[in-house]
């Protein structure tokens, strides 16, 4: 009987073509939507992790309370020992020290008087140690607009639009004016080695990157930093891994009530990223639900049209002694076959397009000029393991559901009525 049904499906294009096309398109869109949202949100989260939050971050308890002000006076001290301890206790993760700070950048004229001046947000990272991986993590080579990366102490990178605004050229000497960890004023000269562009307004408006040793000298933060960022061994943020790490670390410091005691926070606890993560984990379910709903309605209608066309066949089969339930089940078996075939085609198409968008991406950087969120300028899809099977959920459920709804007509119609239609 199954062979008989499959023969009918393959030969009767009216019965299989429209549902197959609908399912394939629906599944393709499901896969594409899933990989797209996962990719864009994942890249945004990844960008935040690399630039600012890490997968986890170690700070002081006091710093946690006013983190949005990046107060250097509430920084961690004894960080060499703390990093050693972190590397020993959690060897699978990478740990890097960062100093986030603010200040004024002053460009003097030939007489040493202020030519232009502006506030900036600075990030000090371990630039000179290649094993730190910080230059790659911040993608400095790609975002470099002019000049070169700092290669010696006293050299900094300035965001391109900030440099243009202040009239800074490469190799200009600029003066950093800020506050040390102990509250004193600090004035230090730097040479601008290059300019960079993140493509994110919030960062491009006014940012400076320098080596952490220079920041330590300028801010009197020997053996101190305000943030230690931890990156787990997976490329994309894994909330459960981060939570596990955080709980383990914080348990070991639970009894330390000092306001300068270290405390670990996760990426989801920072920059309102928790909502984004929840959205990402829920997106597969939401996309599947929406497509199941839409596809079911479309396939229900397709099933009704097909069912009307097949009233004669149904009447004949009833006359021959086939039971209503058997006919109903065989129609569901047909839809299962169509759903599976359509899903396979849709997944293949969806994955192909996703792969293309994963490799090439879509450049929205010009539209993102005024974005205040940390979001990538180029949107890419991301093919996750679930993208290989997610399409089967709407593809099969919607087809079967659509057929079940359409097939109710078989039960509602009297045998004699169907038979009469057969004879007409």
């Amino acid at each position: 009987m199954i062979k008989f049904i499959i023969k009918g499906l393959l030969r009767d294009k009216h019965r299989s073509r429209l549902p197959l096309i609908v399912v394939a398109i629906g599944v393709m869109l499901t896969v594409l939507m899933t990989t797209w949202i996962t990719g864009v949100l994942g890249d945004s989260i990844n960008l935040n992790a690399k630039l600012s939050t890490g997968h986890v971050k170690v700070i002081t308890k006091a710093y946690r309370e006013s983190m949005d002000q990046i107060p250097v006076d509430l920084s961690l001290t004894g960080t060499k020992a703390l990093i050693t301890e972190l590397k020993k206790d959690y060897p699978s993760a990478s740990w890097v020290e960062r100093i986030q700070f603010g200040g004024l950048l002053d460009l003097p004229d030939e007489n040493g008087e202020t030519k232009s001046q502006g506030p900036f947000a600075g990030i000090a990272v371990d630039l000179f140690n290649p094993s730190s991986g910080e230059a790659e993590r911040l993608n400095l080579n790609r975002i470099l607009v002019n000049g070169r990366l700092p290669s010696a102490s006293g050299e900094i990178l300035v965001s391109h639009s900030f440099a243009e605004k202040l009239g800074i050229s490469i190799n200009d000497r600029v003066t950093f004016i800020g506050t040390t960890m102990y509250g004193g004023m600090t004035i230090v000269n730097f040479t601008v080695a290059g300019t960079i562009r993140y493509g994110i307004t919030a960062l491009d408006r006014g940012s400076v990157i320098m080596d952490i040793s220079d920041a330590r000298n300028a801010l009197e933060m020997e053996d101190a930093c305000n943030e230690i960022l931890g990156f787990t061994d997976v490329e994309y943020y894994d909330d459960s891994k981060a939570s596990e790490l955080m709980e383990s670390f914080n348990d070991s410091y639970a009894s330390d009530n000092d306001q300068f005691a270290p405390v670990m926070i996760r990426l989801r606890d920072q920059n309102d990223l928790g909502g984004l993560i929840d959205m990402m984990s829920g997106v597969v379910g939401i996309v599947s639900f929406v497509f199941i709903l839409v596809l079911s309605v479309v396939l229900w209608n397709a099933g009704l049209i097909g069912g009307l066309r097949r009233y004669g066949e149904v009447g004949l089969r009833l006359a021959m002694g086939e039971e209503k339930g058997h006919i109903y089940r065989s129609m569901i078996a047909e839809s299962l076959a169509i759903g599976t075939a359509g899903s396979v085609i849709g997944i293949a198409l969806g994955l192909s397009l996703s792969y293309l968008l994963q490799q090439k991406g879509l450049d929205f950087s010009s539209a993102m000029q005024n974005a205040t969120m940390l979001m990538p300028g180029v949107f890419r899809t991301r093919i996750t393991p679930e993208a290989w099977y997610i399409g089967f959920i709407p593809g099969i459920i919607a087809t079967v559901l659509g057929t079940m709804l359409a097939g109710i007509g078989i039960y509602k119609r009297q045998t004699a009525r169907l038979f009469k239609e057969l004879q007409s």
Partner: protein, 232 residues
């Protein structure tokens, strides 16, 4: 019911709702058909022929009275039991052939046997026999669209006969056929009736069919007006 009676219709009435009232299609019919008969219900359009055949074929239920088919009362049978009885013991031939267009002649004839869950070997033997009876052995791989009207009706006869049913119900089987094809298929059915002792019951107003009947039951306004046995 006597041993040879395979269809027994007792005080059978069928009414259909029509507007605010009812239309009486069959009005207290009593009828008995014995095994091996080649009989027909004849009468003008609207006389109740098809309704009677549908009730005997367990496709419809009577309003009053009863139809006993092969010892089973239509009133006592569940929908499932009626389907089983149709599947095993009844064959249908329709005016419009009703072949499944995407399947071949062989597959169309094979379909009733799939419902009986016969093995592939048994099915093949039975289908080839049935197609030989109707003279279509050379058309096994053809699709209905490639056949003439007469050939299509012969496939429908093969499909009805392939499971060797006790009763074949044929509703206006020659209505869409020319004279030559009509006589051809009627001779085929008559031969099957004689060779296999299958009971044939027709609903018709075609004189060509009537000329082959051995018993003619005339329905007028839902009542049996005449019941004649014809000696040929």
């Amino acid at each position: 019911m006597k041993n040879t009676e395979i269809i027994s219709v007792n005080s059978l009435t069928k009414r259909f709702p029509m507007g605010l009232g009812e239309f009486t299609a069959l009005n207290g019919i009593d009828l008995t058909i014995t095994k091996g008969e080649f009989s027909g219900v004849v009468g003008p359009s609207g006389s109740g022929k098809t309704t009677l055949l549908n009730i005997i074929g367990l496709l419809d239920n009577p309003t009053d009275g009863d139809a006993v088919i092969l010892g089973s009362s239509s009133r006592a049978l569940s929908v499932r039991e009626a389907a089983i009885l149709r599947r095993k013991h009844l064959g249908f031939i329709f005016q419009t052939y009703n072949l499944l267009p995407v399947y071949t002649v062989f597959e169309n004839a094979e379909f009733p046997l799939l419902l009986l869950k016969m093995t592939a070997g048994e099915r093949k033997r039975a289908v080839l026999d049935a197609l030989e009876w109707v003279g279509l052995s050379d058309k096994v791989g053809s699709k209905p669209a490639q056949l003439s009207g007469g050939e299509c009706q012969r496939v429908a006869i093969a499909r009805a006969m392939v499971k060797r049913p006790e009763i074949v119900l044929a509703d206006e089987p020659t209505a869409n056929l020319d004279a030559e094809n009509s006589h051809h298929i009627l001779r085929t059915m008559l031969k099957l009736n004689e060779d296999l002792k299958t009971t044939f019951l027709f609903a018709t107003h075609d004189d060509k069919v009537i000329s082959y009947l051995k018993r003619k039951i005339t329905l007028i306004d839902g009542k049996v007006s005449r019941d004649e046995t014809i000696i040929r």
